[in-house]
């Protein structure tokens, strides 16, 4: 088939090419590489990397544990703060978090490879199925967690550790949330998301009920009546519409659906891809979709973003990754009309844009890019039914610093929350902290403060 056949086709590449293209983006560090990388850590005091980590992992300590030949102890340090440390090591934009804060940047412009070292330690512990936590005495309390993504899993694990029983209600067929459905394939190979779910669930006391969607299968009122507390950890299930002429043509798809289909495909050759693909958007989703379109054998992949490079949500590293895979990124272009032939996408007409008094406006100049597939990555929205009287703010759930919502007995965290950063690691932090808040609230319930005469 090859890359030159117009239209959307599967099997463009040889099996060996698919294999190579969808293997690990970064090979794991071997023992020697890990020791060399770990030796570069200065063991800073009150380390800036640790401050930059949303889950506050004690990075200098875990790296020192690696350098002294104790990767298991290192993994324990990581999991103490972040039970999904394995996935975060793979998907965190470390270049804007811990590694950006690394003091090695000051003098050498090259940080310690914190993400890869974290993966080294957590991989070893998980391969040995080393479990670090035992459950406290059962409290008899049950907590409903909605969503088996990073926030929900982190919350459930911390609750289970503290002796509570947890039921996770998840809308999808498989647990993991975005880790399972939303991450680029080459960032989580070998079914890592499911292995991590199993690793987290091994603590015990956590039951997952799949295909249970809030608002369709259960309501918040049900959950409140059945459980002692509720944690809402849903993702963003809605997508922004393009509202452009021709959007209904064959070959137009939401990028998140494309990414999920690809992740779930056992044989990547079964995923059809266009010869010329245009991706609309400027975030991580746009990059993930574009890079993977290229890896599936598309001849030309173009990201069109309506603002400038400096406005893109995708990190510099991700943009460079896309460029290195042959994706071209065009700025200051907004979609005007999708051109179709026989009901199928044939191209997209775009209009140049500019900022006028801080407002984005079209310049009137237009052009057409030939395309047989268009992937929309123009933002996701929080959509949920069955939330009852829960107060939203700017379209997402409003919480305090501990994750408490405006409803008694209901906590929330992750992407569904106002102020969420759309990051796996932030979702983990919010889930974990909400669990501790729930635990404190339930403990106070069990043992009311004794009045001292």
């Amino acid at each position: 088939m090859g890359t030159m056949e117009s239209g959307i086709h599967r099997g463009r590449l040889s099996p060996a090419q698919y294999e190579a293209n969808f293997s690990d983006l970064h090979a794991p560090l071997d023992d020697h590489e890990a020791l060399v990388a770990a030796d570069r850590c200065y063991f800073c005091h009150d380390a800036p990397c640790m401050t930059a980590c949303p889950t506050s992992i004690d990075i200098p300590l875990f790296i020192r544990q690696i350098s002294t030949g104790n990767p298991i102890g290192s993994a324990n340090t990581i999991f103490d703060q972040n039970i999904l440390g394995g996935m975060c090591a793979r998907v965190c934009p470390t270049e804007t978090l811990c590694e950006q804060a690394c003091v090695r940047n000051e003098a050498e412009h090259r940080p310690v490879e914190i993400g890869r070292l974290q993966r080294y330690a957590t991989d070893i512990a998980m391969e040995q199925d080393k479990q670090f936590y035992a459950r406290s005495e059962p409290t008899g309390k049950t907590i409903a967690v909605v969503g088996a993504g990073p926030a929900g899993l982190a919350c459930a694990h911390r609750l289970a550790v503290n002796g509570h029983d947890v039921v996770i209600y998840d809308a999808r067929e498989k647990a993991g949330g975005l880790n399972e459905y939303g991450i680029a394939t080459y960032k989580a190979v070998d079914d890592f998301a499911q292995k991590e779910v199993d690793y987290v669930l091994a603590i015990g006391g956590i039951e997952i009920r799949n295909s249970q969607m809030l608002g369709r299968d259960v309501s918040l009122a049900d959950l409140k009546s059945r459980h002692d507390a509720v944690f809402l950890g849903m993702g963003l299930s809605g997508v922004n519409a393009l509202r452009t002429e021709g959007e209904a043509a064959d070959g137009v798809e939401d990028a998140i659906d494309f990414i999920a289909r690809l992740r779930q495909a056992g044989d990547k050759a079964e995923v059809a891809i266009g010869r010329r693909v245009v991706v609309l958007g400027g975030g991580m989703t746009a990059i993930d979709a574009a890079v993977q379109a290229k890896l599936l054998g598309a001849e030309e992949v173009t990201i069109c973003y309506r603002r400038g490079k400096e406005h893109m949500n995708a990190s510099e590293f991700e943009q460079d990754l896309a460029a290195s895979k042959g994706v071209s990124i065009k700025h200051w272009l907004q979609p005007k009309r999708i051109v179709s032939r026989d009901g199928k996408v044939a191209g997209i007409e775009l209009e140049y844009t500019t900022l006028s008094e801080n407002r984005l406006v079209g310049t009137g100049e237009t052009g057409i890019i030939a395309a047989d597939q268009i992937l929309k990555a123009i933002g996701q929205t929080f959509e949920a039914d069955g939330l009852g009287a829960l107060l939203l703010d700017g379209g997402r759930i409003s919480t305090d610093a501990e994750g408490r919502t405006t409803l008694d007995g209901v906590w929330a965290g992750g992407d569904c929350v106002k102020g969420g950063e759309d990051l796996t690691v932030s979702a983990v932090a919010m889930g974990r902290d909400a669990a501790m808040s729930i635990h404190r609230a339930l403990a106070a319930d069990v043992q009311p403060a004794t009045a001292v005469a």
């Binding site: 030796d39 200065y42 005091h45 003091v103």
Partner: protein, 437 residues
């Protein structure tokens, strides 16, 4: 161009870099390679008496410790003196000396502490054309159990006796190699001088266990589950060696006695430090065993370039230059006051200076200023200890700045006294008070 030619007790070599008596100088093959690489001289691996050669262990002979990036910092060795036939060594030495007449070739010797043993071997060595002999009184393992090596070097009377024999039975210059495994290095040095030695060389290796295998509980290097102490060498021992060289250089009894400096010389800087502390040349082993013979090129060019930059023409211009600056603690100027200063442009904000000072020293470095991560020395707390300088990962980021006479020391609230004053006259010194009374 600086003149690096070396004349050490009459032994001439094109540069002051000799290979020490050790595995790298065990046979002609290695020594020829060393001379090709540019080494000025070698001390041939120690010869024993005629007869069946010593045997070595057949398992691992070396243990080590490492720094970051597995850089070798210290090596330990349980290999003995040469395990080759005496006449094979003598024949090769003679041939090598003929092939390389401009290089120094020294024979290291260790035979039992009996006059006849020394009297027998010295003419054999002399016949090779060797430029001198080095008496191995330092080997700390194996041979010392048989009454040789360090067993001699630890008893000044034996040193004096053996040196006297050697001076009596050979015309070759005698270099006495000293063991550091003693309390005061001046005593064996004085004994060697009394015996008439032409020079001393030091240090030999230090008794050591480099590590223990935590699975088998065997010391490393492990021979069938057991370990024996070995001789420690490499960069980690340099400070010990420098001190011992300096002690001999400034001791009135041994002052002026030529010294061949040994112990962790790895770069030209190390070599220059030995020279300025009184060594006439240096001997190298571990650095060559770690990196190969080529390192001598860096040593030669580094020393030469530094001498050119500083205007030193010959080795005589630098040897011993630091000796007058070595002092007993009691004579250090207590009115000299320095404070640490952090170059904010160079600071990478790792915070190590702060935590070192805060946890273990004088609480004199900030962590935050106006809520911002900022490391700055508080002059009113800083005692000038230099710990922050030593733990800072960035060279020259933190420096010690002396306070000019008359300026206020914020810590004591007193102006800096321009006059030299030491402990011997300090009012807190009970001895000083007695003297005053």
């Amino acid at each position: 161009m600086a003149d690096l030619r070396n004349n050490f007790v009459g032994i001439k070599s094109p540069n002051p870099f000799w290979l020490a008596s050790a595995p790298p100088t065990d046979k002609a093959y290695n020594v020829e390679r060393a001379f090709k690489a540019g080494w000025g001289g070698v001390v041939w691996k120690t010869l024993g008496e005629e007869g069946p050669p010593v045997v070595n262990v057949n398992g691992p002979r070396y243990g080590a410790i490492w720094g970051a990036d597995r850089r070798l910092l210290g090596l330990n060795n349980i290999e003995l003196i040469t395990d080759r036939d005496l006449y094979t060594n003598l024949r090769e030495m003679k041939q090598v000396k003929m092939n390389w007449p401009d290089r120094a070739l020294i024979a290291s010797i260790m035979v039992p502490c009996e006059e006849q043993a020394w009297k027998s071997i010295l003419p054999l060595v002399e016949e090779t054309g060797a430029d001198g002999i080095e008496l191995n009184f330092g080997c700390p393992h194996g041979m010392s159990e048989r009454g040789m090596g360090a067993a001699v070097g630890q008893v000044p009377e034996y040193i004096e006796m053996v040196v006297r024999w050697c001076k009596q039975y050979t015309r070759m210059p005698v270099i006495t190699k000293l063991t550091p495994n003693i309390t005061d290095i001046r005593n064996p040095a004085r004994a060697a001088k009394r015996g008439g030695t032409d020079a001393v060389s030091l240090i030999n290796t230090i008794n050591s266990i480099t590590s223990v295998n935590l699975d088998t509980f065997s010391p490393e290097p492990s021979i069938d589950g057991k370990g024996s102490h070995g001789g420690y060498c490499g960069p980690a021992v340099k400070p010990i060696a420098l001190n011992m060289v300096a002690e001999i250089a400034r001791d009135p009894e041994t002052s002026g006695l030529p010294i061949s400096g040994i112990g962790g010389v790895t770069t030209w800087r190390d070599a220059a430090e030995f020279l300025v502390l009184g060594a006439g040349n240096v001997q190298v082993c571990t650095a060559a065993m770690t990196y190969g013979f080529k390192i001598v090129e860096e040593m030669i060019t580094g020393l030469s370039d530094w001498m050119d930059a500083k205007g030193h023409r010959t080795l005589d211009d630098i040897t011993g230059r630091a000796v007058p600056n070595i002092s007993d603690w009691q004579y250090l100027n207590l009115n000299y006051i320095a404070k640490a200063h952090i170059d904010q442009d160079a600071c990478i904000k790792c915070g190590r200076c702060h935590i070192a000072c805060e946890d273990t020293s004088h609480q004199a470095i900030t962590q935050f200023v106006d809520g911002i991560r900022h490391f700055e020395v508080m002059d009113d707390e800083c005692v000038g200890c230099n710990l922050c300088v030593n733990v800072c990962p960035v060279q020259d980021c933190i420096t010690m700045v002396p306070l000019a006479a008359g300026t206020l020391d914020e810590r004591t609230g007193k102006p800096v006294d321009p006059n030299y004053a030491n402990w011997t006259t300090h009012p807190n010194n009970p001895m000083a008070r007695q003297a005053a009374e």
